[in-house]
């Protein structure tokens, strides 16, 4: 029998205070794709980090094609033919594609002079192999997100790995981009590469994997083979160790919401090159979804509504009053705040703690009569929201950078809830968030809706929008092309995707 490409036996890994892996076995065959799934902290990232040489296991053995190896650092991993691609493209934005691909691996003539032509040739070869046409002299910051992902993969491909780890690479991509990426992955697989795929979007995982390894609590709790019959529910049940009731009670009040008080009205709102002629009305206690491909202008529209950028033409009314915000502070004063799609850069101060991040926008209300901060009140409010939103943190004094993606996201939402905004804009509510936290965030948003808040939600995951929204607006190239209401027959993923694709091709 042929030896497996990669075999990990009885892997243990412990960090101060936590046992991340408790005796895990793992096998990867040539030309197969194995996915690792599990909630945050379940052990899947730890395992892939060990394979990539980021740190060694405390116990256990690793075999590559039958040979016992020690992967002491990432360089050794590279030499053994293991490549890893991370979620956030780790590229230098103002350098070119070829410069990025060969960063730290430059080809030189006689050890000194850079052989630019050879590097360009090699880059083009790799990109061609991946089935992509990208101008290697283009600066990375000018590329689309998919192109950036391809460049990162090209970088990993340079050393001709036989094992490739893809860690959350599809998180920022929409369905069309993911399909493109999957085609590349399938080609690599056909060429004999063994691929380890880590992700949160179970639909994708079921689509691409030959087998799915489920982690829970540091252990491998099962291997599922995606057949016709395998459902997401089964995978989630294994991940959480419970039977999951996926049906959330959403929008049962939907038909009535349109008769409620109007909180936001947009009339022919436009911004050159981004969105055009946006008309719609938002009512109290309503969640409205925005669906569209990347470049649809939805993010920019949301930004305009809080005042992060300004719109060019048209009219905006908040509770009947005409407004145009020049900065985010003005938007907040009028009761609008945005949870952006980049919480680390735009939503949080990672080096500060939980309580500072939750209370930053509400300091005005935490002052005593001498205009000084009432620390007790501040802590109390922070505690209140940590409880209410089930934010998992050892304390409110924990630095935010130490929390998981889902909990970080909840903190950004808590910040706006504490401020008691009327309208919350959420761009990609569960980007990089694990299944358990995803559901908690959905429940959270629906809860706020039931409390009378109004929400606009943008997401590349149609399923997500279908779960929580009362109606979904479909935006193509900056224009609203269609509206689909809950409890109508078009309110399903296939129909909405069809609308998007047909509108896109017109």
């Amino acid at each position: 029998m042929q030896e497996p490409l990669l075999f990990l036996k009885n892997i243990h890994k412990e960090f101060p205070g936590v046992k991340a892996l408790k005796g895990v076995d793992f096998t990867l065959e040539k030309g197969k794709i194995v996915s690792l799934v599990g909630t945050n902290g379940a052990g899947k990232s730890t395992l892939s980090s060990i394979i990539a040489g980021i740190y060694p296991p405390n116990q256990g053995e690793i075999f590559i094609e039958g040979k016992n190896v020690t992967i002491s650092d990432p360089k050794v991993a590279e030499q053994l033919g293991i490549g890893i691609v991370h979620q956030e493209p780790t590229l230098v934005p103002n350098m070119t594609v070829v410069e990025n691909i060969f960063l730290n691996k430059e080809i030189t003539r006689s050890g000194f002079v850079l052989d630019i032509n050879k590097m360009k040739q090699e880059s083009e070869k790799v990109l061609e192999f991946l089935g992509f046409q990208i101008d290697v002299d283009k600066k990375v910051e000018e590329l689309t997100l998919v192109e950036k992902e391809v460049v990162v993969i090209a970088k990993a491909m340079l050393l001709k790995p036989r094992i490739l780890i893809l860690d959350e690479v599809t998180a920022p991509l929409n369905k069309v981009e993911v399909d493109h990426l999957f085609k590349i992955i399938k080609d690599l697989k056909a060429n004999g590469m063994g691929i380890i795929f880590i992700g949160h979007k179970l639909q994708e995982i079921i689509e691409i994997s030959d087998s799915i390894m489920v982690f829970r609590d540091g252990k491998n709790v099962g291997e599922l083979i995606p057949t016709e019959k395998l459902s997401e529910k089964e995978v989630i049940a294994l991940m959480l160790g419970v039977i999951l009731n996926e049906d959330l009670e959403a929008g049962e009040k939907a038909p009535e919401s349109e008769q409620r008080e109007e909180v936001l009205k947009l009339v022919s709102l436009s911004k050159l090159g981004l969105y055009e002629d946006i008309n719609f009305t938002l009512h109290k206690g309503e969640i409205v979804g925005f669906a569209g491909l990347k470049g649809s202008g939805i993010t920019e529209l949301f930004q305009s509504l809080q005042g992060i950028i300004t719109f060019d033409d048209g009219e905006m009314y908040v509770k009947g009053k005409r407004v145009k915000f020049k900065n985010p502070k003005d938007g907040i004063e009028s009761g609008i705040g945005m949870v952006t799609n980049d919480r680390q850069k735009e939503g949080l101060a990672l080096t500060l703690d939980v309580k500072e991040n939750i209370t930053v926008s509400s300091l005005k209300y935490l002052l005593n009569k001498f205009r000084l901060i009432e620390t007790k009140l501040l802590k109390h409010n922070a505690e209140k929201y940590v409880q209410a939103l089930s934010i998992k943190t050892p304390s409110i004094n924990q630095f935010v950078q130490n929390l998981s993606g889902g909990n970080q996201q909840k903190i950004v939402i808590a910040k706006w809830l504490l401020k008691n905004l009327d309208i919350i804009l959420v761009d990609e509510p569960t980007r990089g968030v694990d299944v358990k936290a995803k559901n908690e965030i959905y429940k959270l948003l629906i809860n706020e809706k039931n409390n009378g808040k109004s929400l606009l939600v943008a997401s590349p995951e149609i399923r997500e929008l279908l779960t929580i929204c009362d109606k979904i607006l479909i935006v193509i190239s900056g224009r609203i092309v269609s509206t689909v209401h809950r409890n109508t027959k078009e309110f399903n993923e296939e129909d909405i995707l069809n609308i998007i694709h047909s509108a896109h091709h017109n």
Binding site: Y55, N58, A349, L363, I373
Partner: protein, 325 residues
């Protein structure tokens, strides 16, 4: 071998965490060590007269360093404080004839105004603060020379100024009292006011601060105003040591102030730092300088020491502050 690697890794992490948590304590230890080891090599270090002098000088540079700390906290830098010191000193000095106290008030107000000018340039011009304050350093310094035509102003007629720099209150040098007073007030303001918290948040992540509703421009201008004020306040204290005001009094001072702030744990990126750290940094810095002087190495070593310290501290803090992964 694998076990050993793990042990080292865990210990390094624990060490890092311990340092970050007990920051102030560690600075105390370093100060104590410098004092103890220094006194072995140079016994005259711990003589009462010498220590009082060290305290006095530490207070002057420490005062300006407090201002630098605030600007660094906001994620910016102020290279012009040496020139602000010169110009405000000169403006006040020219007014000494009208009374010492009004002159001092003029000095301080000018400091605030020059600070605000810095703040407005940095926030409106979209050029980074290193370049902007490099420019204002030139302009303000140049103006100081223009105003005095390069001449010095003597302070014989101002007992108040002399007292400020050289006097005592209950046996404690006046500069020390001023330094501690300003330090405590600013420390409380940073910790317990809305503006203080907004300063920390702006330094930690300017864009997130802005989107969260903080008026980051206003915060930066305030930080620069504070920096200008403390620089202005330190001026008379410094010049009364030499009994005269020269238009180049502050040259090179910004480097001392920033070195002290960084030594005290203020991050050059922003969002991290404390006043108490800066106070300890000032004491340590001045003590080190004093040891050099007393051991006969020469006062010109000051510049070498400053530069060397800055590099060493920055490297150490880089290593400690590096987040995991």
């Amino acid at each position: 071998m694998e076990e050993m690697v793990i042990a080292n890794e865990t210990n390094k992490d624990n060490l890092r965490k311990a340092i970050l948590k007990n920051h102030t304590f560690i600075l105390f230890i370093i100060l104590a060590l410098v004092m103890i080891i220094g006194s072995i090599f140079v016994p005259s270090l711990v003589q009462k007269g010498n220590l009082l002098n060290v305290l006095r000088l530490a207070s002057i540079v420490g005062l300006a360093a407090i201002g630098s700390t605030v600007v660094l906290l906001v994620g910016e830098i102020d290279l012009s404080i040496g020139s602000i010191m010169s110009l405000t000193l000169v403006t006040g000095g020219l007014m000494v004839g009208y009374g010492s106290v009004p002159a001092l008030v003029v000095t301080c107000l000018t400091g605030i105004v020059l600070g605000i000018i810095n703040g407005v340039f940095v926030t409106k011009l979209k050029i980074n603060s290193l370049m902007v304050t490099l420019g204002t350093m030139s302009v303000f310094g140049g103006l100081a020379n223009v105003a005095t035509r390069g001449q010095s102003i003597f302070l014989y007629d101002s007992p108040f100024y002399l007292w400020l720099g050289r006097g005592y209150v209950a046996g404690i040098p006046v500069p020390v009292i001023i330094f501690l007073f300003v330090g405590i007030v600013l420390s409380l303001l940073l910790k317990f006011t809305k503006t203080g918290k907004e300063i920390y948040f702006t330094g930690a992540n300017k864009r997130a601060a802005w989107i969260s509703g903080i008026n980051t421009n206003k915060i930066k201008v305030i930080a620069y105003a504070v920096s200008g004020l403390t620089a202005a306040l330190a001026g008379p204290l410094l010049s009364s040591q030499t009994n005269r005001i020269t238009p180049i009094q502050g040259v090179g001072f910004e480097l001392s102030a920033i070195a002290v702030a960084v030594l005290g744990g203020t991050s050059l990126i922003g969002g991290k730092g404390t006043i108490i750290g800066t106070i300890l940094g000032a004491l340590t810095f001045q003590l080190l300088l004093n040891i050099l002087t007393l051991s006969g190495v020469g006062t010109y070593m000051e510049q070498v020491l400053k530069g060397f310290l800055l590099i060493v501290i920055v490297v150490i803090y880089q290593v400690i502050d590096k987040p995991r992964k």
